[in-house]
Amino acid sequence: MKLEVNKIVTLGNNEEYLIVDSVLKDDKEYYYVAQVNEDETGIKDNYKIVCATYKDGEIYLDEVLGEDKLKSILPMFVKEED
């Protein structure tokens, strides 16, 4: 399994998220994800910044919480308009 932008990941709690964007910071992978709706035609209003950790060949997505962390990571996901 490989996490890539524009792919849908299913978590152990059966929630499905679309990987919107990804950044690498301090050797850590951060992903901007949005929860996929039931029909799988779009997304719900549930967005998260998650950090991927790898253990025993499995991938875990931990939500990034905390003001300081968000302050440092969020700007990296903002794309300049053309």
Partner: protein, 604 residues
């Protein structure tokens, strides 16, 4: 009866063959899983229906065991069917499959019950057979004993005849050239015994026997001495003495033989073997007697002892067979059989106790049964991906990564997500700047964020919402209403693209909650109106324009996402539903009675 669709089964077999050819084809595996799931569901449901037909009353044990054996047979078929499916899936590296849970069937009880009932029935049958056998043996024993009685009577009759034969037996001898009449009785009388008297007086016979045996022993000693004398002094005198003693010893042996014949004659034997043995011994004795007579120079032309018809009796009784062995065998068998029957009766009582402990349900957990019914609803289809290593998966563990499907509206999603992240970033940046400006006391994006904790703490959480500064509220009010934004998705043209982005931006702002403080309020104000506690604090008197208001309330559920504030399951309407505009939400908030003081202070 287990219901298995033959066509579906054939289809599954064909799909198995396909999997052998191309084992890594996910599509084939998905189809195979769908087929076997249907087969399994159908079969399992029919088994459950069968289980529910258990009859706790008005059922004979034979009927019950037939019912249980049918269930067991169906269970075995389903079990083997599932094992076959699982084997195929394992060979295709799928370790788990959610087939029906046949462990819900109380097969252990069914097996035990079958064993108990069949044991009881077999025991009953054996008991009946053994009782019948015992009866037959008893009858046979009676018959054999009758035969034995008859034989005994017959043998005793022959004994009597034999004595009569001895009494009546006649012969001839030549004495002094003349043929003389002789009989058994006269022969006994010539040696000094009363034949008839001794036949009737056993004690006298025994006394005479003792005497003659003693005499024989003494004569034997004499004979040995005479032999020694003759050997030491072999002369005519010693020879004569030896010959005389030998003759005397011969006569004693003859008389002893005659008394032994009498002793046999007075003893009757009803036992076949002894009866036969007696006659054989008599014949031997008669033979010895004849030899002695010959040595004593007594010539008998017609021996009366040979006319006692002993051989004739032996040939006659050979037609009768002794059944004494048969009788003893029957008696032994009867004893063993009686013991066995007693054991069986004991076992029978034990079985009866077990049989009375009957369950009225053959399903271990009826709740599980109902769960199964839900789980096997047609809407649910197990897919290949669902089955990949599900062992102990944690909530945040990625179990699957897949591509988006064709129906996924990527363009709208991109617009939304970009707008959201941009907006969030702007807010953070804005608050960060304020935080770093000396004249400002707003120091954190917490300003509009419900202080969220980890989900584990949700139940206990009492979030604090802080509104700091009028300026911030004004900023929020500048956001366009939701109605403008809703139209953008429906009729977007390339020309409008740029404007559309702005609209989406606002739309998302309205719908995305961390920055929709008002939306949060809208969500919570009504619920918490009773519990709403507004506490106004002036943290620093040096900064009178800044008010810090803490709204403390309990909420039932906290959002997982860091900026989501509404229950997604309720809110999820593909963002197409009309929601209150930002202004409306502000108004709603301000119109609350409990917040009037707050508003006044804010507007002051």
């Amino acid at each position: 009866m287990l219901v298995i669709d033959d066509n579906m089964l054939k289809l599954a077999k064909m799909q198995e063959k396909l999997l052998k050819i191309s084992s890594n084809n996910k599509s084939n595996i998905d189809k195979y899983i769908q087929t076997i799931t249907k087969i399994d569901d159908q079969a399992y449901n029919s088994l459950l229906d069968e289980l529910k037909q258990i009859n706790t009353h008005n059922q004979t044990l034979e009927e019950e065991i037939k019912y249980l054996e049918d269930i067991k047979s169906d269970y075995t078929i389903l079990y083997e069917l599932q094992s076959g499916f699982k084997n195929i899936l394992e060979t295709n590296y799928i370790n788990e499959i959610e087939l029906s849970n046949i462990e819900n069937v109380d097969i252990e009880y069914i097996n035990t019950r079958i064993d108990t009932i069949s044991g009881y029935l077999i025991n009953q049958k054996n008991l009946e057979i053994n009782k019948k056998r015992l009866e037959e043996l008893s009858n046979t024993l009676v018959e054999e004993e009758k035969k034995n009685k008859y034989l005994e009577e017959k043998l005793l009759e022959y004994e009597k005849i034999l004595r009569e034969n001895f009494q009546n037996a006649e012969g001839r001898t030549i004495e002094d050239g003349n043929l003389q009449y002789i009989s058994v009785e006269t022969e006994y009388s010539t040696i000094g015994y009363d034949f008839k008297y001794l036949l009737e007086n056993e004690n006298d016979l025994k006394e005479n026997l003792s005497k003659i045996e003693l005499e024989q022993a003494e004569t034997l000693e004499k004979l040995k001495t005479a032999e020694i004398c003759y050997n030491s002094m072999p002369n005519s005198s010693s020879k004569q003495i030896l010959n005389d003693i030998e003759l005397e010893f011969l006569k004693i042996r003859y008389r002893l033989t005659m008394l032994k014949i009498l002793q046999y004659l007075i003893t009757d034997y009803s036992d076949y073997d002894k009866f036969k043995e007696k006659r054989e011994n008599l014949l031997d004795l008669i033979k010895y007697r004849a030899n002695y007579l010959k040595k004593l120079n007594v010539h008998i032309s017609i021996d009366p002892f040979e006319r006692t018809k002993i051989n004739e009796q032996l040939s006659q009784i050979s037609g009768y067979k002794s059944n004494s062995k048969t009788i003893s065998k029957i008696k032994k068998e009867i004893v063993n059989l009686s013991e066995r029957i007693e054991q069986m009766q004991q076992k029978d009582r034990e079985y009866m106790l077990e049989i009375n402990n009957k369950k009225d349900k053959l399903i271990i957990n009826s709740q599980l049964y109902s769960d199964h019914k839900q789980s096997i609803s047609p809407e649910k289809t197990i897919k290949f991906e669902d089955l990949l290593e599900i062992k102990t998966v944690e909530g945040n563990q990625v179990i699957k990564v897949r591509n988006i499907n064709n129906n996924f509206n990527m363009r709208i999603v991109k617009d939304k997500t970009n707008s959201v992240i941009k907006r969030v970033n702007e807010m953070i940046t804005l608050e960060y700047q304020k935080d770093t400006t000396p004249s400002q006391t707003i120091s954190s994006p917490e300003l509009f964020i419900v202080e969220s904790t980890t989900p584990k703490e949700i139940e206990e959480i009492i979030p604090t919402i802080k509104i700091v500064g009028e300026e911030t509220l004004d900023k929020i009010k500048q956001v366009p209403p939701l109605e403008q934004l809703e139209k953008t998705d429906e009729s977007k043209t390339p020309k409008e693209e740029k404007r559309s982005e702005l609209s989406i931006d606002t739309d998302l702002f309205t719908t995305v909650d961390p920055f929709e403080t008002i939306s949060l309020f809208e969500d919570k104000v009504e619920e918490i109106s009773d519990n709403l506690i507004i506490s106004l604090e002036e943290e620093k008197k040096e900064e009178p324009e800044e008010l810090k208001i803490e709204l403390e309330t309990k909420i039932d559920e906290m959002p997982e996402a860091f900026w989501i504030t509404q229950d997604d399951s309720e809110k999820n309407k593909d963002n197409n539903e009309q929601e209150p505009s930002f202004d409306e939400q502000i108004e709603a908030l301000l119109s609350e009675d409990n917040n009037k003081n707050l508003v006044k202070k804010l507007t002051a």
